[in-house]
């Protein structure tokens, strides 16, 4: 078997083994297993619906489904960035193996929470239909949107994984930033409710556009704004480029610094 082909097969196998190991360690030993991937956003949704729907009386139609859609995309974002940041420093023994393709680790970090999202997707569909919606053909655009978000997260993931090697508080700062950013991202409210003077700033947050597009597809049954998706695609390319460059530069520093 030629070396390059073997390498490809090996990298794929390595990716799958590490992915399975991650999933097993997360879910296999708990009695509820993968159900946790669904229960966590369901509980979050219940609490947000109560607090903002019943207490603050936010007036959004089909509010629980609205929040659930936002939460799934947001949780993926948060989990992916957080575990990417630790992907290298928490796996130093793997990185020290000769010939180990280090880039696999941040990819696993972004993929694991994607599987959580996919596991919760059927429940979301049930919610959407039960709340009086219907799944339109626009749902077919969902994979494209997931791919766009995946590439976006992967770009930032590579960047964070590289930075964490030099700066050990990246994960800590990230934790604080993500908590704050959660409130500045329209997860439990709609961007229409944001006052005009703040909208430009909101427009700079890529997650806003992801959430709006998910809701177009899932809640309204309309196709997302393709111009927005195009801008996101360009952004993905830029972020991936920056992230990958940083990561590759840090690659040899990994072993020397760890």
């Amino acid at each position: 078997m030629p070396l390059t082909r073997r390498r490809l097969v090996h990298t794929r196998d390595l990716f799958l083994e590490l992915l399975v190991r991650e999933m097993k360690l997360r879910y296999e030993r708990s009695s509820l297993g993968m159900l946790w991937a669904v229960l966590t956003p369901l509980l979050q949704m219940a609490i947000f619906s109560f607090v903002f729907g019943a207490v603050f009386r936010v007036d959004i139609e089909r509010y629980p489904a609205f929040i659930f859609t936002g939460l799934l995309a947001w949780n993926w974002f948060r989990e992916a960035l957080f575990s990417s940041a630790g992907a290298i420093v928490n796996n130093r023994e793997l990185v020290r193996q000769p010939g180990f393709p280090t880039a696999v680790l941040p990819i696993v970090a972004v993929t694991v929470p994607l599987l959580d999202l996919l596991a919760a997707l059927p429940v979301l569909f049930v919610f959407l239909v039960a709340s009086g919606g219907s799944l339109s053909p626009a749902v077919l655009a969902l994979p494209a949107l997931l791919v766009l978000q995946f590439l976006f997260l992967q770009g930032i993931g590579f960047l964070l994984a590289g930075l964490q090697v030099t700066f050990r508080d990246v994960q800590h700062l990230l934790n604080v930033s993500l908590t704050l950013l959660f409130y500045l991202t329209p997860v439990f409210y709609s961007p229409d409710m944001v006052p005009g003077w703040a909208r430009t700033v909101y427009g700079l947050n890529p997650m806003t556009h992801f959430l709006v597009s998910y809701r177009h597809i899932l809640m309204d049954g309309t196709m997302p704004d393709w111009r927005v998706l195009l801008v996101i695609a360009v952004l993905d390319a830029v972020v991936l480029r920056i992230g990958w460059t940083t990561f590759v530069r840090a690659r040899f520093a990994f072993v020397e610094e760890l």
């Binding site: 083994e17 190991r21 020290r96 508080d169 040899f252």
Partner: protein, 259 residues
Amino acid sequence: MNRIEAHAVGKRYARFAIQRPRKVKEALFRGMGGLRPVDTFWALRQVSVEVAAGKMLGVIGTNGSGKSTLLKLIGGLSRPDEGTLVVRGRVVGLLELGTGFHPDLTGRENVFINGVVTGLTRREVSEQFDSIVAFAGVEAFVDSPLRTYSSGMRMRLGFAVMAHTRPEVLLIDEVLAVGDLAFQKKCVARIATFKADGCAVVLVSHNLEAVTETCDEVLWLQHGNVVARGPAEPTVTSYRQANEDDDADETGAHDDDGG
């Protein structure tokens, strides 16, 4: 055929200020200037060595002499700053046994993870699975979590996986010091098989008896420079004498520059 060819290889490390920022916070307060190294030093300089297929090179020297740095360079984990280094074939590092092992997963699951991490494909692992388990002698426990294994069983399992990787270049860093006599014998026998199959082996060790016994050639490093290079027996003897003249304390000490 030479599997490893190093010509005048050197590796320079940066020495950073002790108060080098390790956090974004610190870097912001003190300025990014602190990130630049204050000084550099050569961990390895002018090292030339060849290891032919089927040969075994022993690397000896006191702590901090550059032994581990040399292994990292050959393993492709870091790049030389000067000189040329060519490594031909699949490199397997036996730097620690059972990389990727997790106590909560079963022996079977760990064999697959460790095998793939060490460079095998899933198919290669499953084809050799029975043989790996038999080699380690843990047949009765394959489906029990690794945390129920004794440390000896864990070690045997790690070595068994490595023993099935068919390396072309094998890097060993002191691991053979662990384990009982029977296990060590098994390891040495396995390495002899690798050599017979055309594998080049590099052994870093403080165990001078083992080096004399198993290595075809020995490289003696001191402060990153080559002191001597030659047949095992005489090189080890002169190393011993130099150490006795110098200070007897060094023998038996463990290398702590592994990263």
